[in-house]
Each structure stands twice: as structure tokens, then as C-alpha cells.
């Protein structure tokens, strides 16, 4: 028996388990891309419009989230507008799928059952990688076809498709390594997400610091972008230079990561991580012996991880704030655009308003994750004996809700303070900037908190679908925030996202009405969710 025996059977099993999930990802992402491409070609019909786009898109805030401006042709505009956000989603699709078919199977004992059948030791990982590579290949083909059908050049269309697919495969490799290192699927997903965050951040810094190319409208990203596989995708420049060799970089990195994962599998037992389990205390500390204490114990790792991420993001974006002033001095056209946009804010205020608004949606990722912990506790069966003690259902829920809420507020304050610290050091006013940007970040809190109410409501009302619905709601918010305006969606559709309703403080005044309405909506939905949970069966 070779160490790969049974791979084909396991891959079929994985495809069967994912027969809904992966197609939804692939066609959903393809659909978003096609819609955006169509609206780009509708919005920028003349050379003048396209040149104006290049001017406005080449500002540090926009480039941090979208990537460098690559040219004034429709293909390049489409690339800038869509590639980063799609690459992040493709990476998430890939890491979650790999963890689901490797570490999660080991954790639930499914792998043991399968492993005792005729299956080689490398078969489960190989099957997972084949499945995920297949999904990415399908996505690459779909993207190539859709963009080409939309009138973009074949080379460029296939270039975007291949770059997205290969980014997905690279992150499948990242997840494969994470699944060997960590003993739990939660930990493996966290490690992989940290890798993705780092890749995003490196290219955000590199693209933000990019310099205008001599004589043109395009931007040359700074060195940091070259440290990130997502950054490489942009550097392919599929519609202008078409640096095909960049795809080779992605392929080589994917290969190295997969090789590392295989090397690690050979050095551990089934079900174990790389780090040995340490012994715990023989008796419980007093703080643990309440529902809130238990919830904190279960959630504190996530709070810590997200806190570090938020401080890093805040400090980074704060440091980039200086660029915006410099940029406006050299670019009067852009300054004019900013003034048209602007209320009474300075350009730096505009920048921070935009960045904090988008980062609040990212922070909502924590909120959703923390609240879904309740569902995980229920379906894994640990909740059953807990609720057979003298703990009421609302009291148990409130412990988790309290931590998710306080954690969200903490993350936003850390984000704003981090930005205030680094920007304050640059402009010479640390206390003033920390207070003002922390306050501005806090003004975004009603967004994640309203979403939190929706998550609690689905946990109470639709437990079986809660995980998919909660993450789906967050994805909708991200997409509405990133491409909603570009797609010229009607206001009622944009209004679905709670984040749409909050003004970009500090560039705008704090508005009390949306804050209070969103908090009230969150509270009502939470109450509905708790009430529904009280009245329903425990659902495994």
C-alpha cells in the first residue's frame, strides 16, 4: 500500500460533502466579478473618464484596499477594482476547505474511521488539496470566460483568472501547513487567517507607498507588495505588461508550502498537532466557575489574536496617513476630487474616515466569529451537560454576547488608537490624534453590533443554517462596501448593510440618529434571538 492509497476515494467524498458549498463560492465570486466588470465598462466609456478614474484611484487609502492603478484601459480598471477583494475571498474559500477536509476530520474522529480503511497516510491531505485545487481551477476558467465575454482581451482575462486561482492554491498550501501545526481546526483556521492578513497588509503598505510611474498615470508599488502573493497578482499587470513569470512565483510558493505540509505530516501522529499538550490545573480557578468566566476562557484566544491584528492594522494605516497630504500637494486634480467628496474635513480626515469605515467591517469578522462560538458549543455537544446544570439559557447566551460586544468595542478602540499613535508621531500630536481617531473608530461600532444582533437572531431561529447565514451576511456587507457604489446599486440595496448608514467620522460629524437606530436594531434582534433560543430544542 502506498502512502497515497485511497486518495481518489477521499477526494470524491470531499467533493460530495462540498457539493453545494464550493459551487456557491465559485459562482458567487464569478458573478460578483462579472457584474463589476460590466459596470466598469458602463461607467468609464470615454478616455477622459478613464483618465479621471486613474487620478482618483491613485490615492493611498484607495490603493491600500484596492491595489495599484495599472493603466487607463477597462481591463486594468477592472483589475484594480476587483482583484484584492476577490483574492481575499478566494484565499478564505481555499483555507477553510483545506482545514475542513484535514484537521477538522481528525478532530471529529472521522479521519480515524477513514484511516482504518485502506487509506495511505498522505491520502487525506492530498485529497483535500486536489479538491481545493479543482475549485480554484474552475474559478480560474470561469473568470477567464466571463471577462473575455465582457470584451476584455483574452490574455488579460485569463491572466486575472489564473492569478486568482493560483492565489487560492497558495493559500490552500498555507492552510495545509497550518493544519499540521495546530491541533484544532479553530487554531488552524486562525493561523491561516493570520497568514492571509499578513499578505493583505504587506501589499496594502506596498501599494499605498507606491510612486507614480514616470510620465504616466500608473503606480509602481513599493517593495512590500513583492512580499505578498496577493501583491504578485497585481504585478502580473495582465492588461499592460503581462508579466507571465509572476504566475511562476505563485506556483513555486504553492509547491514549497505543500512540500512543507507533507514533510510535517510525516512527523506527527494522527489527531495530534506539532506542539505537545501541556498539563492543566487539577482544580478550576474561581473566575472560571460562572457562565461569563467560561465564555471568557473559551473566547480569550480569539480576542487576543484579533487585538494584535487590529493594533498592527491601525499603526500601519496611521503611518500611511502622512502620504495623503504629500500626494495632494503634487496632485491638484486629486485634491479637487477630494474637495468635491468632502464635507468640511481635511484630506487626512477623509482618508481616516474611509479606512476606519472599511476596517470596522473587518472587525465585524471577529463579532461574527465570537457569536458563532455559541453555535459551535451547541453542535459539538458540550452545551448539553452545561444546560443540564442550574444555568438558564439566557444567562449562558449573555456571557458570550457580552464578550463579543465588549471585544468588538475593544478592537475598534485599539484600531483607532494604533492609527492615532503612528499618525500622531508623524504630525507631532500623539494624545490629540489617539483620542480623536479612537473616538472615530468607536463611532463605527454600531455597524458590527447591529450585525451581531442578526447573528444572535439566526442562532435562535435557524440553528441549522446559522453559520452559513451569519458569514453570508458579513460577505454581503463587505461586497456592498467594496463594490456596491461602483455597481450603482440602488440605495435601498446598499442600505441592507448596517455599515452604509454610518458617516465617515472624522471627515463627517458623528450622526446620532443612525447610531441609535442601529444599536436599537441590534438590541431588538438580540432579544429576539435569545427569546427564540429559550423556546427551541437543543439542536446538535
Amino acid at each position: 500500500m502506498s502512502s497515497f492509497t485511497g486518495t481518489a476515494r477521499l477526494a470524491r467524498l470531499a467533493l460530495r460533502r462540498d457539493r453545494v458549498q464550493l459551487p456557491v463560492w465559485v459562482f458567487g465570486l464569478g458573478g460578483v466579478l462579472a457584474a463589476t466588470a460590466a459596470s466598469v465598462s458602463g461607467a468609464y466609456t470615454t478616455d477622459a473618464e478613464r483618465a479621471a478614474y486613474a487620478v482618483t484611484a491613485a490615492n493611498p487609502a484607495a490603493m491600500a484596499f484596492n491595489g495599484p492603478v495599472l493603466g487607463t484601459d477597462l481591463g486594468s480598471i477592472t483589475m484594480t477594482e476587483t482583484f484584492t477583494v476577490l483574492a481575499v475571498f478566494v484565499a478564505l474559500m481555499s483555507t477553510m476547505a483545506v482545514v475542513r477536509h484535514t484537521r477538522q476530520n481528525e478532530e471529529t474522529g472521522r479521519a480515524e474511521l477513514v484511516g482504518s480503511a485502506i487509506v495511505g497516510r498522505h491520502a487525506p491531505l492530498t485529497a483535500a488539496l486536489i479538491t481545493v485545487a479543482g475549485a480554484n481551477a474552475a474559478l480560474a476558467v470561469l473568470v477567464g470566460l466571463l471577462l473575455n465575454a465582457n470584451g476584455l482581451s483574452p490574455a488579460g482575462s485569463w491572466g486575472i483568472g489564473l492569478a486568482l486561482g493560483l492565489v487560492g492554491v497558495v493559500f490552500a498550501g498555507v492552510a495545509a501547513v497550518a493544519a499540521q501545526l495546530s491541533g484544532t481546526s479553530r487554531g488552524a483556521n486562525g493561523l491561516a487567517a493570520a497568514g492571509l492578513g499578513l499578505a493583505f497588509l504587506l501589499r496594502a503598505v506596498g501599494d499605498s507607498l507606491g510612486e507614480q510611474a514616470p510620465g504616466g498615470v500608473t503606480t509602481d508599488s513599493a517593495f512590500f507588495s513583492w512580499l505578498s502573493p496577493i501583491g504578485w497578482g497585481h504585478q502580473l499587470k495582465p492588461f499592460t505588461e503581462t508579466n507571465w513569470w509572476v504566475l511562476g512565483l505563485l506556483a513555486v510558493l504553492a509547491g514549497l508550502l505543500v512540500a512543507l505540509a507533507y514533510a510535517l505530516t510525516a512527523h506527527r501522529d494522527l489527531g495530534a498537532g506539532m506542539l505537545p499538550d501541556r498539563a492543566g490545573p487539577a482544580t478550576a480557578p474561581r473566575g472560571l466557575l460562572r457562565p461569563l468566566g467560561l465564555a471568557w476562557r473559551l473566547q480569550r484566544g480569539a480576542v487576543l489574536g484579533w487585538s494584535v491584528a487590529m493594533v498592527v492594522l491601525g499603526v500601519t494605516f496611521g503611518a500611511l496617513g502622512e502620504e495623503i497630504d504629500e500626494m495632494l500637494e503634487n496632485n491638484p486634480q486629486l485634491a479637487e476630487v477630494f474637495r468635491q467628496f468632502g464635507t468640511d474635513g481635511t484630506p487626512a480626515d477623509m482618508y481616516f474616515g474611509m479606512v476606519l469605515g472599511l476596517m470596522a467591517i473587518a472587525a465585524a469578522g471577529y463579532t461574527v466569529q465570537a457569536l458563532l462560538r455559541m453555535r459551535a458549543e451547541e453542535s459539538s455537544g458540550v452545551l448539553e451537560p452545561l444546560l443540564a446544570t442550574a444555568v438558564s439559557r439566557p444567562r449562558w447566551m449573555l456571557g458570550h454576547i457580552l464578550i463579543a460586544t465588549a471585544g468588538t468595542v475593544l478592537l475598534l478602540v485599539l484600531l483607532g488608537s494604533g492609527a492615532g499613535l503612528s499618525y500622531g508621531l508623524i504630525v507631532g500630536d500623539v494624545p490629540g490624534q489617539v483620542v480623536s481617531l479612537a473616538g472615530a473608530a468607536l463611532a463605527q461600532a454600531p455597524g458590527p453590533l447591529a450585525l451581531a444582533g442578526a447573528v444572535v437572531a439566526v442562532i435562535g431561529l435557524l440553528p441549522g443554517r446559522a453559520v452559513a447565514l451569519a458569514w453570508g451576511a458579513l460577505v454581503v456587507c463587505v461586497l456592498l462596501g467594496q463594490v456596491g457604489l461602483l455597481l450603482e446599486l440602488p440605495q435601498p440595496v446598499l442600505d441592507i448593510s448596517p455599515f452604509t448608514h454610518l458617516p465617515p467620522v472624522p471627515a463627517a460629524e458623528v450622526a446620532v440618529t443612525p447610531i441609535l437606530s442601529l444599536l436599537a436594531a441590534g438590541l431588538l434582534l438580540t432579544a429576539a434571538g435569545v427569546a427564540a433560543f429559550r423556546r427551541r430544542d437543543l439542536t446538535m
Binding site: D277, G280, A282, A284, R297, T389, A390, L538
Partner: protein, 302 residues
């Protein structure tokens, strides 16, 4: 005697599945009550309704005089539950899990906890993810028996225990009974049921098919009789309550329903009985009959 648990006409459905179908159950205060039935019969579902974890569709349920759905919190202070499949938090130690369950139930006796940990040979410093199935079960058992409660609800608590630990478990159940506590014990291990239970209820397809002491249940099923006679026995087949007659050289074997001995013995006397043995059903035979749908009530109705 008062009833610790009393259930009448309990119905619980999961979509199209009727898991509990007008189930009646009565557990007296101070007894160890065995709850038996084939896989999927509805034991765990019944227990979850008794704990207020599932909501009943209809029927009356009273546990320690309270409604488990409405008064869940105050009721749970007075009982301890060991689930059939013990799942624990992977990153808590066993000791932490024991203390947590104990504290949330209203406190546990540290001396008794220490004794239980020692008797069950549990290492409380291990992380729960590192425990075997049997050790996870021990964590739940220690947490349950260390609490001073009126009712223990145990769903297949020994399925993963080795024989040594099984006997420790039995001694704690005995001790609970001697202290006047009530125990509801769901189990597939017949020896355990015979050793521990005062009364037994057998559930099949969501209904209680029989309830009583082991002696009463034995009494309800057929006895195997083997008789040696001077002349070959004839005419047995025609007697009511006699089944499976097999004639040997001088020995005849048959099965007989309870309460039918009189006529049969009179009939046999005519053939010169040399020797007669009557074997009550073994525990296995007894339960196979109840589980397999060949219950005496139905047999008699035929």
C-alpha cells in the same frame, strides 16, 4: 411512595419521526430505575425531555414535582446528569470541567470530589482533548457523584468503562440508593441492570412496553420446561400457552407462558413423570423477547 419522575402520554416528534409516542414512565423516589430498549427506541430523547433540553409536543412531565421545561434552573440544582456521549471543552483540564459542572449545579463537596477522583483513577490535570472516551465519562461521573443531589440521571454511563471502573461505578450507585437518592439509569449492560436496578422500564419505538421488577418481568415471559416421562408425551400442542414442543427419546421440551402451568402439569401426570426441570428465561432471552417485538402481552393476545 411518591414519584420522583412521572410521565404520561409524552409525545415528541422530530419532523416526520415520532421519537416518543405517548410514553408513560414512573420512577419512585429512592429507587434505582433501569431504562432499557433497543438503539433508537427513544431513551436519550426521553431523558432530554426530562431535563428540559428538548421541548415536548404534548403530555405531562413532572420531575421532582417540577415541570422540567418551565422550572429548568431550579430543578437542575437538585439533579445531576451524565450524558451518553460525554463531550467536554478540549482546552479545559478534567479537574476544571469537574469543578465547573459542580459549581454551576450549586457546589460540590471537595472531600468527596478528591475521593471520587482517586477511586476512578482519573488524572484531573490532563486536557479534555487528551482524554479517552472512558476518561471523559469518568469526568462526568465524578462531577455527578460529587454533587449532593436528589436525582441522578445517567444515560449509558458505563459504555466506555473497563470492568474495574464499572465496579467502582456500581458501588457509588448503591451508595446513592442507600442514601435515599433516586437514580434513572439507561443501559445496554444487562448484568449492570440486574445488579443495580430495583425496577425496570423497557421502551420500544417510543413507547414503554413493560415496567416492573426484574422478577415481575421474568414472570411475564415464557419458561422453558424439559420433562422425562415413562411414555411418550402426546397432545401437548393443543394446550393453551404451550409453544415449540420438541419430542426426544424419553424427553420432551417445550415453552410455556406464565400462568399456564396448572393444566400442563395435570396433562403431563398421565405419562408418568420421571424428572422435570423448568428454566426461567436468561436475562438475554428476556430482553431479546421484549426488544424483538415478541412481547408477552402480544403473545397472549394471539
Amino acid at each position: 411512595m411518591t414519584a420522583a419522575i412521572s410521565v404520561t402520554k409524552l409525545v415528541k416528534t422530530f419532523g416526520p419521526t415520532r421519537a416518543l409516542d405517548e410514553l408513560d414512565l414512573s420512577v419512585r423516589t429512592g429507587e434505582v430505575h433501569g431504562f432499557l430498549g433497543p438503539n433508537g427506541a427513544g431513551k436519550s430523547t426521553t431523558i432530554r425531555v426530562l431535563l428540559g433540553l428538548l421541548r415536548r409536543d404534548s403530555g405531562e412531565v413532572s420531575v421532582l414535582g417540577a415541570d422540567p421545561w418551565r422550572d429548568a434552573v431550579s430543578l437542575h440544582r437538585r439533579l445531576a446528569y451524565v450524558p451518553g456521549d460525554v463531550n467536554l471543552w478540549p482546552n479545559l483540564s478534567g479537574g476544571e470541567a469537574i469543578d465547573l459542572f459542580g459549581a454551576l449545579r450549586g457546589g460540590l463537596d471537595p472531600g468527596r470530589r478528591a475521593e471520587l477522583v482517586e477511586r476512578f483513577e482519573l488524572d484531573p490535570t490532563k486536557k479534555c482533548r487528551a482524554y479517552s472516551k472512558g476518561n471523559r465519562q469518568k469526568v462526568a461521573l465524578v462531577a455527578a457523584f460529587a454533587s449532593d443531589v436528589e436525582l441522578y440521571v445517567l444515560d449509558e454511563p458505563t459504555a466506555g468503562l473497563d470492568p474495574l471502573m464499572d465496579s467502582v461505578f456500581r458501588s457509588y450507585v448503591q451508595e446513592a440508593r442507600e442514601a435515599g437518592r433516586t437514580v434513572l439509569l439507561s443501559s445496554h449492560i444487562l448484568g449492570e441492570v440486574e445488579a443495580l436496578c430495583d425496577r425496570i422500564s423497557i421502551i420500544r419505538e417510543g413507547r414503554i412496553v413493560e415496567s416492573g421488577t426484574l422478577g415481575e418481568l421474568r414472570h411475564l415471559t415464557r419458561t422453558t420446561v424439559s420433562v422425562r416421562t415413562e411414555r411418550p408425551v402426546t397432545g401437548l400442542d393443543g394446550l393453551p400457552g404451550v409453544h415449540d414442543v420438541r419430542n426426544g427419546d424419553d424427553t420432551t421440551r417445550f415453552e410455556i407462558e406464565p400462568g399456564r402451568f396448572d393444566a400442563v402439569l395435570r396433562h403431563l401426570a398421565g405419562f408418568g413423570v420421571l424428572d422435570l426441570t423448568s428454566t426461567p428465561p436468561s436475562l438475554e432471552e428476556l430482553f431479546l423477547r421484549f426488544y424483538g417485538g415478541d412481547a408477552p402481552a402480544e403473545a397472549e393476545a394471539k
